[in-house]
């Protein structure tokens, strides 16, 4: 492939992956903004979400749409149960307890998924043919293209939800100042439940889209880990920054895979984003877009 086309191919490929990373990162950031919780189990949520969809398809014979619906209902139920059974009781505990609880939940999800879905294949059938499409001379995988388009639509819908709906306004108020949110009559518990339900739905979507794009359930938990370089680069406090960070990480990984991997024997693309994470923290500890937490006294 000629050089420019190769570069374009890498950038496009990375950006398409970045769209899906953005969905995952948004699920992570939404929880952080609402409650300052770091959800260490992001990968397990995605794994569980995609396994529910797979179960819907293989165990219940549902079509793709039905399986997605089934997955969403299941994950929302998991989120509500998690909020009611675990989080409500920890309401006034330290942040560290809340973070540890997410790790525990991740382990629980991994174990129970292995039990509950034993024997049910985890793959999700792709509805599209595999032949690569060539756009302006650049080969593009149609799976990735469609997956990215759907991810993009989801991000736009999320953005509309946060800025155009009453619930979205309440969630932003909670993210800004919990005390003030209570003072205007917002029910914090109910909105935490809504936030986690959103995480559930986003897990189903990103898990399914990633399965399409990467051809199989491999590495879904790795997807969860990618959140950290993304939010550090983009800033935990900024939704647009998170989206930019996701695309940046996607493109960086792709470029590394294309140019550096052949030199070092492969695998460096997985590490590259973490190198950037460390470098960013050294230079701008609040992330590229994050705001330092300075309050007017």
């Amino acid at each position: 492939m000629p050089d420019m086309v190769f570069l374009a191919f890498l950038v496009v490929d990375g950006a398409l992956a970045g769209a899906i990373y953005a969905l995952v990162a948004l699920a992570f950031v939404v929880v952080y903004k609402a409650s300052r919780m770091i959800n260490f189990a992001m990968g397990e949520w995605i794994m569980l979400g995609s396994r529910m969809v797979a179960a819907g398809m293989h165990a219940f014979g549902l079509g793709l749409g039905g399986a997605l619906g089934f997955g969403c209902v299941g994950m929302v139920a998991v989120a509500m149960a998690f909020n009611r059974v675990v989080l409500r009781r920890l309401f006034s505990r330290s942040l560290l307890s809340l973070i540890m609880v997410t790790i525990g939940l991740g382990i629980f999800m991994r174990g129970s998924a292995a039990l509950v879905f034993a024997g049910i294949p985890g793959g999700i059938a792709r509805p599209l043919p595999l032949d690569p499409v060539v756009i302006q001379g650049v080969p593009v995988s149609p799976d990735k293209l469609v997956a990215a388009a759907i991810a993009g639509a989801c991000i736009a819908a999320l953005s509309w939800f946060f800025h155009g709906s009453r619930t979205g306004l309440a969630l932003r108020a909670i993210a800004s100042d919990q005390q003030v949110a209570m003072a205007v009559g917002i029910d914090l518990q109910r909105h935490f439940a809504i936030t986690w339900a959103l995480v559930g739905v986003l897990s189903v979507l990103s898990g399914t889209l990633w399965s399409f794009a990467s051809g199989g359930g491999f590495g879904l938990e790795l997807l969860g880990l990618k959140v950290f370089p993304i939010v550090i680069v983009g800033g935990l406090d900024s939704l647009p920054g998170t989206i930019v960070g996701a695309f940046a990480v996607g493109i960086l990984e792709s470029l590394t895979a294309g140019y550096i991997d052949p030199l070092v024997g492969g695998g460096f693309s997985h590490v590259a984003s973490y190198v950037v994470l460390i470098a960013t923290l050294c230079v701008r500890p609040y992330g590229l877009f994050g705001r330092p937490d300075i309050e007017r006294v």
């Binding site: 009453r166 306004l169 309440a170 932003r172 108020a173 800004s176 100042d177 005390q179 003030v180 949110a181 209570m182 003072a183 205007v184 009559g185 917002i186 029910d187 914090l188 007017r296």
Partner: protein, 263 residues
């Protein structure tokens, strides 16, 4: 002169054989009954009882640390008293979560205003009306508030954190009004504001009561508070030491000496 705990309104500090003024004729909107609030071992409020009649202004004055802010926080549910009752329209509010109390249209504007600094003026106002289900009246409420405070209409797209102190206070009151309060509790609305702005804010209070909102006003500026209130309580180290008609307290020598800087 004995300044110790006289309970209930309508009994001015008796001096020179004055008659007791008659009790306020309207029904009680809010009755605080022997409230005790502590922060750990610090007893901030020790057995306070007071009454706010419907659509009236009641002032709560006293020095810093007297327990006035704590009292408001206990009524609005932010802190929980360990003894006593807060009866609002007959129902005890103690133990209810903050958002439930807000939904009963008891609105607290705290000291320091409680702004959502990174959201716009308009968004702050919309949030004020959040507890009112149904957007039917949202637009007209907004228009009403903009009519009262034109400066907010001008600045509606600006981030709340970029407003001046006085504008933030106006925004805080406007936001509270969006919730159509039946009882509005203002904590130190004049704090840190230029006298001109203070006068403007105090001009708004009678308009609120004319529309049926009762106001419980905590103020260090005792003179302005007593001038605009119907009834008043004086708090000292967590206890009510004096109570009565605001007009009477305004001329009471103890009050003049301690809080009005006279003598």
């Amino acid at each position: 002169m004995d300044l110790r705990g006289r309970r209930g309104p309508g009994q001015a500090g008796k001096q020179q054989g004055e008659d007791c003024p008659p009790k306020p004729p309207t029904a009680a909107l809010l009755e605080v009954d022997d409230l005790h609030v502590s922060y750990g071992r610090i007893r901030a409020v020790q057995g306070v009882s007071l009454m706010v009649p419907d659509a009236a202004v009641v002032a709560l004055i006293g020095a810093n640390g007297a327990g006035k802010s704590t009292l408001l926080r206990a009524i609005s549910g932010i802190v929980r008293p360990h003894r006593g009752a807060v009866r609002y329209l007959g129902e005890d509010l103690v133990g209810l979560p903050v958002h439930r109390i807000v939904r009963r249209r008891v609105i607290h504007v705290p000291e320091g205003r409680g702004m959502l600094a990174r959201m716009t003026v308009l968004e702050n106002l919309r949030l004020g009306g959040f507890a009112l289900k149904g957007a039917a009246h949202g637009k007209s409420d907004l228009e009403r508030v903009f009519a009262l405070f034109p400066v907010l209409r001008e600045r509606r797209g600006q981030l709340a954190g970029s407003l001046s102190g006085g504008e933030q206070q106006i925004l805080a009151i406007a936001r509270a009004m969006m919730a159509r309060p039946r009882l509005l509790m203002l904590d130190e609305p004049s704090l840190g504001l230029a006298p001109l702005l203070v006068r403007e804010i105090f001009r708004i209070i009678p308009r609120l009561t004319a529309e049926g909102t009762a106001v419980l006003l905590v103020e260090q500026n005792a003179r302005m508070a007593l001038q605009c209130a119907a009834h008043a309580y004086v708090l000292q180290t967590g206890r009510v030491v004096l109570s009565g008609r605001a007009a009477d307290l305004l001329v009471a020598p103890e009050v003049q000496r301690a809080y009005l800087g006279a003598g």
